[in-house]
Amino acid sequence: MSAHALPITILYADDDAEDRMLVKDAWEESRLANELHFVEDGEELMDYLWRRGKHAQLADQPLPGIILLDLNMPKKDGREALREIKAEPNLRRIPIVILTTSQAEEDIYRAYDLGVNSFIVKPVSFQSLVEVTKTLGKYWLEIVELPPKDA
């Protein structure tokens, strides 16, 4: 792991409570030490990143190191949030991994066009989900060199 002052946090945006629960369980099962935070739609995601509304108290906290993003969400969906994040110089460096049920080619093309870093289709079984989170953790938290935090 990189020698950062604080360990990287991961933010997962998904409106589906069961999926949040499963990912949380899988995260624990994968024995990943990094904190996993949740937001429930695209608007809350943007509030979280801008430290607004109910996330205003996070003002002095560092931004998440990775965002796991569902595509189909109410209010503001993952595609819109993705576009906004990638258009924003302060946020565009945060790696974004799409985690969705959609296998539509259209969605895959669009996500990569908008600058997404990976596109993962939610696995069916819990065991596969654990595999995915382990792999994600190993790749993004151990192998990859992430941009240094702006202090």
């Binding site: 049920t101 939610k122 069916v124």
Partner: protein
């Protein structure tokens, strides 16, 4: 020398000579050289003079003509007519002009224009009459032909099964036939003399009027078009109209002749067809959309059933006991099957939503690629797959691959337990037309009863229990859709225990 120039010479001589004797010669020459026949008769109808042209026409020298009558020289019926006319002239003392029939010496029938004039002596006593006549057969025949031709045209026009009308430069109907009266459902007298747009549907009247004006002035070309009319009984009619400009002898446009073809039914049928096609396209699109969306949205809860089933098994397996675990396993299993069904349905809907345009495809290459995909299965089963020479055709390459994969896959799957599968893929030209080919996939497997033939190509129809052979029953349904999308068909021959033979027929030129 022509008679005209001879005449000119005579005239010249007459003009320069003061000798009265020359005047006789002048008249003699004039009479003898005229292209007209001149004949004199006395009161009894006896010929007293005939000029040269007349003698030629009768075909006798003058001495054989003098003193004869019409009855001696011409057929009796003509002679009677001539004599009657002669008497009329003599009685009235007036010149008389008519066209007579005549017969030449050679027997040819002629028409002659004749001017008969009474002749008097110095005491104004009638001596007889003079006939001047000339051949007008050509003119007469031409006129007659014209009349006949006009009559033929009139009959054709009037009795044609196609509705015709002619309008003048004001759009007024000047001529129309029975078929048009029948078509428009009005009496002849109700249409003739009225502007044609009186019969055009209200919403097209202005356009009709404008179009007629432009066509007459040459601003608009005459091309077939459709126009709506309203029949006498109020029914709306759609007619296809073909037009021609009518010109007078000098070439000036004086009107338009139109033929009208009732296409109301054709138009209604076309509209109906277009509406049906649109409806069908919409319903197809909806269905495809539905299958796609449903498949995606149906996946979601299934995924949850499976994932939480996993969790239940892992976290609470100990407390629910063996029976509980068995139930759980069955639930998980069912959810898994449902997932496969949905994926299959999705695959079927993708045949349309993800269809690629046709391009040249070499089926040999496609078959080789399919075999390499199936390689492990072929090895595991100890199977033999023989590929004959396959044609190249215009097709969706991915779908051709799917077609062969499903058929060869089936041939491998439904093998007899005691015998390794032998699969043959061959092709032949269709005997019927030589323009399509058969792709045949033949195996030595378990076969099936042909009474199930229709069933096996339907979605999710299976002939075996899930325990015997895996699969949802989508494969052949996909094959059928692919064959049909390519303008072809699929069928099969089989007997239980004797292998199966699947035949795909595809057109070679698309």
């Amino acid at each position: 020398m022509s008679s005209i120039s001879q005449l000119g010479a005579e005239l010249e001589r007459a003009r320069v000579s003061a000798d009265i004797g020359h005047s006789d010669a002048f008249y003699h020459s004039l009479v003898e050289n005229l292209p007209h026949s001149i004949l004199h008769k006395d009161l009894e109808g006896r010929f007293t003079f005939a000029n040269r042209k007349c003698c030629e026409l009768i075909g006798k020298p003058l001495e054989d003509i003098l003193g004869k009558t019409d009855f001696d020289l011409f057929p009796r019926d003509l002679a009677v007519q001539y004599r009657a006319d002669d008497l009329k002239v003599l009685q009235r003392g007036q010149p008389f002009e008519t066209v007579e029939q005549h017969v030449t010496a050679q027997g040819a029938k002629l028409y002659v224009q004749v001017i008969k004039t009474p002749i008097y002596d110095a005491a104004k006593q009638p001596l007889g009459l003079q006939c001047i006549f000339w051949d007008v057969t050509g003119h007469k025949l031409a006129v007659q032909e014209l009349l006949e031709s006009e009559e033929r045209f009139r009959q054709l026009f009037d009795q044609a099964p196609v509705a015709y009308h002619e309008i003048d430069c004001n759009g007024v109907v000047r001529r129309l036939n029975r078929a048009e009266c029948a078509l428009l459902g009005f009496q002849y007298s109700e249409i003739i003399g009225k502007p044609i747009w009186d019969f055009v549907a209200d919403d097209e009247r202005v356009r009709s009027q404008e179009a007629v004006r432009k066509k007459l002035s040459g601003e608009q070309a005459l091309v077939p078009f459709t126009r709506d009319y309203v029949r006498g009984d109020g029914a709306r009619l759609t007619v296809e109209i073909h037009e021609k400009l009518i010109r007078d002898a000098s070439g000036t446009v004086v009107g338009i002749r139109s033929s009208l073809l009732d296409i109301t039914e054709r138009k209604q049928a076309q509209e109906e067809l277009a509406r049906k096609a649109q409806e069908l396209a919409r319903s197809n699109a909806e269905l495809e959309q539905f299958a796609y969306v449903a498949s995606h949205d149906l996946q979601e809860p299934l995924r949850k059933i499976q994932a939480f089933g996993d969790r239940l098994n892992a976290k609470c397996g100990d407390s629910i006991g063996d029976l509980g675990l068995d139930y759980l396993g069955r639930m998980q299993n069912a959810a898994g099957r449902m997932q496969v069904l949905i994926n299959d349905l999705l695959a079927l809907s993708r045949l349309k939503t993800k269809a690629q345009p046709f391009a040249p495809v070499n089926l040999n290459a496609v078959a080789r690629a399919v075999l390499s995909d199936l390689e492990t299965r072929i090895e595991r089963l100890g199977a033999t797959v023989e590929i004959g020479t396959l044609p190249a055709l215009n097709a969706d390459g991915l779908q051709m691959s799917q077609l062969l994969q499903n058929l060869i896959g089936n041939a491998l799957k439904f093998h007899r337990p005691d015998q390794p599968p032998v699969v043959k893929v061959t092709s032949s030209l269709a005997e019927a037309d030589q323009r399509s080919c058969h792709i045949v996939v033949e195996d030595n497997g378990i076969g099936f009863e042909e009474k199930y033939l229709d069933r096996i190509f339907q979605v999710f129809q299976r002939l075996h229990g899930r325990n015997e052979y895996e699969g949802t029953g989508i494969g052949l349904a996909i094959c059928r859709q692919i064959a049909e999308r390519h303008g072809g068909s699929i069928t099969a021959h089989s007997e239980p225990g004797k292998g199966a033979k699947f035949i795909v027929t595809l057109p070679l030129e698309l």
